[in-house]
Subunit: 379 residues, 2 copies
Amino acid sequence: MKAPARLGDGVDAIDTPALVIDLDAMDRNLATMAAFARAHGMRLRPHAKMHKCAAIAKLQIAAGAVGVCVQKVSEAEALADAGIDDIYISNEVIAEAKLARVAALAGRVKLAIAVDSAPGVQGLADAVKAAGTTLDVFVEIDVGQGRCGVAPAAAGALAHQVVSHGQVDRGMRFAGLQAYHGRAQHLRGAAEREAAVRHAVALVRAAQASITSAGIACPLVTGAGTGSFVFEAASAVYDELQAGSYLFMDADYAANQPAPHAPRFEHALFVKSQVMSRGASHAVVDAGHKSHAIDSGLPCVWSPAGGPVPAFSNGGDEHGILLAPDGAALPELGGTVWLVPGHCDPTVNLHGHFVGVRGGLTVGTVDCIWTIDARGCVF
Amino acid sequence: MKAPARLGDGVDAIDTPALVIDLDAMDRNLATMAAFARAHGMRLRPHAKMHKCAAIAKLQIAAGAVGVCVQKVSEAEALADAGIDDIYISNEVIAEAKLARVAALAGRVKLAIAVDSAPGVQGLADAVKAAGTTLDVFVEIDVGQGRCGVAPAAAGALAHQVVSHGQVDRGMRFAGLQAYHGRAQHLRGAAEREAAVRHAVALVRAAQASITSAGIACPLVTGAGTGSFVFEAASAVYDELQAGSYLFMDADYAANQPAPHAPRFEHALFVKSQVMSRGASHAVVDAGHKSHAIDSGLPCVWSPAGGPVPAFSNGGDEHGILLAPDGAALPELGGTVWLVPGHCDPTVNLHGHFVGVRGGLTVGTVDCIWTIDARGCVF
């Protein structure tokens, strides 16, 4: 797949629609989160399901991250192929063929995975035994998402199953608790998010008690996202932060009420689009659902210079419709329109490349073109 | 990118999530639409923005289609590279660099494109003159979508501009009117869709009058989609049908009230998923927004054997949550769950391959694996 720009191009020459990173803003976000984790004595393992890009994972690791998380086996394989050597699949795998791939990958990189069922542990044990490899296993508990994860009281039995297999086969090491509260990330009020994490912390403590009762030590608790990490960091229970979106900051996270004293992140990910048609009272840009995901709402129009922007309205898969606010002008035919995606993760997944710009979106130049290595890696 | 299956595999061996075509159902849909077009004396130029796949385009052309439509220049390039030689970009292009690619492509395949502005025609004229190539040009009119296209009364002037350039440079041939009503496709009531097309037909007639007044003949009117094509076919104004989704039939189109005497199409596109986690009252499958688009609603669970199915609830980017209807059982851990996407076009765009199955979804085998050639071709 061709890239929409060449190194050294001016911003104007980037083809549209294209996924553009403001590298200066991204660098500041990267440093801010790294400094936060260091200051709070937390491990940082950013979620690479967001960027799916080994070049970015390497920057995060160079800034102090211990490795990355992913959600899918094929994501882990793609990032391993591109040189990332410490990967946590923070999700369950059940299919035998996929478990064989997990076990094989554990022979190439430092690998961890989550489990939430006895058959899942057994399947994993069989796979690593057959492959002769070793990996870390986190027991996932449901801390309020209502999706994967066992109840806290069941954590001890599952940890015991992992430890028992580990003693026999040496293929699995019990690594701790996966305790991510996805739903908490997008609660708009800071107090609501704090309350959700307080509830999660209580469930983590209950799971730790269940594990202790089974005579097992719980080495690590991992979780947290961009909407809530300040609360997990303050909890004295979580050890590792999995936040990912902080690096790019999408429109949905920007709509959250900031938590007091929380570090601020800037928009660093944009879709560059072009006006391809003009009506008397609307403009049409060449970016639609195939250029930006809309599961968390439509993108927002962004003015690099500040000032009023048109409203973005749904134009379908390949178009966006811009309507002018009162008195504001609409961009002319051929004009550039910058969009901030509603949700960065699935937006990134729609593109083959990031175009990295230095010097701002108005007069900057293309400094890097990064392949989105794990794009489309759903299985 | 790896494919999620191998030729000859049983359905059970297809990795998840995967995009699976029931080839027997697709063949019936293909034949039904081809027969309809023949019986009504209509040209069929299916929209390949839906399947993005040269192998499928070739089947459509073998069944009588005159060629395909696409929405993006990079889609046209990808399909041309894969052997499709009659392509209509049913959309406007404004950027100079992209127009140069259009003009170059016109030297490789029979190419057509839409215009809706004087600068658009001028840019295209400059590009084909520089390249020394020739292409067909359709003037797009807005027939109710409120997106691209000029008002009918402006069609004559634009057609005149195209014809004038054509006489001077021989690079452009005025081919007729692009008159697609996207919004009409998804109006639920058949009478509503019929009324919308009746309005579109009146606007087409007005545009034809404007073109005739300019002393120009209008060779062809092209438009229509899966929700409305029976009405365009009955109009005596449209010559060419662009419907695409009929081949796969998504959940959104299936929710339309069928028009009287309209041919029926079967669901032929599915996402195969697997239960990866079970709670007491819910199951979690490994397919979320990164496996199926949700712009037209969540997918529906499909039972190949018939019978009650669980309700699909939003589980985020990588998960789907199944809730049991009253009294019905939830699938067990490891069980296969078939999903019918809400909207086929952007769902296809998320995957690297189609896995084609013959013999049904229960006991069938993998008969073909087709690359989604123009996947992610947004620019």
